[in-house]
Amino acid sequence: MKAYLSRRYHFSASHRLHTDAYDEAKNAAVFGKCNNPHGHGHNYTVQVTLSGQVDAETGMVCNLADLDGFAQTNVLDYFEHTNLNTLECFRDTVSTTENLSVEIYRIFQGFTAAHLERVHVEETSNNSFDYAGGSMPAAGSI
């Protein structure tokens, strides 16, 4: 039987929404207070959903310890207490949570024990973003 497993992880990071494609006035107009040159930060929540047949021997879609280990090494250790704008993945793109969702989806594609369905990222308790693949940019290009 096919079931869906969702796990939530948390990290805190800073960022600044800014693009070199705009001048200072347009950055301020488009990104508002998110364009503050000194940056600001959020407590992010990442919710990853995986699917698969429930293994008859373990009762699991995938082993949670394996998923947690993967998330710790590849997601949390990478983003925790960083300035997102300094990371390679945001060298050429704005560190919006839309782009962050796509990057985290790309990372979780490396976890092969179950099928990756969706990544849901909450920037604050009032803002959240979902990415379920599709129009997938090449790795490293986002």
Binding site: M1, K2, A3, L5, S6, E57, N63
Partner: protein, 136 residues
């Protein structure tokens, strides 16, 4: 078509153990969850049903009736129980969150009048949950 979701809560003990494996294998795969003395969680159940809004009542289902069904079929059986030892379906199936979601689906399927069971979501804790949509 409207989707309606009702929550319920239950608190239960469980452990993970596959009788066909050695103790070492169980501990390797299931870690702390293999402690045979059990441990427990406050589970949150979300049951989503779909259906058309009755033009007279404005309801998809009668919420009180749905609440009573969840109480009778699930909460009264699972709450303050040891799932492995006291709930029949977990004498054979390991009471993982995935299997609990499937078992609750099977308990509720065809028991909700005028609506179709759409999804069973079981939170073992706020950061871990499983969904089952009745898929084989």
């Amino acid at each position: 078509m409207i989707f309606l979701t009702r929550k319920a809560e239950f608190s239960s003990a469980h452990f993970y153990w596959n009788d066909s494996w050695s103790a070492e294998e169980n501990e390797r795969v299931f870690g702390r969850c293999a402690n045979r003395n059990g441990h427990g969680h406050n589970y949150t159940l979300e049951v989503t049903v779909s259906g058309n809004v009755d033009p007279t009542t404005g309801f998809v289902v009668d919420l009180k009736e749905l609440k009573d069904i969840l109480e009778r079929e699930v909460v009264s059986v699972y709450d303050h129980r040891h799932l492995n030892l006291e709930v029949p379906e977990f004498r054979t199936a390991i009471p993982t969150t995935e299997n609990i979601a499937i078992a609750i689906w099977q308990r509720l399927d065809d028991k909700i009048p005028n609506a179709k069971l759409h999804r069973v979501r079981v939170y073992e804790m706020p950061d871990l949950f499983a969904d089952y949509y009745g898929e084989r």
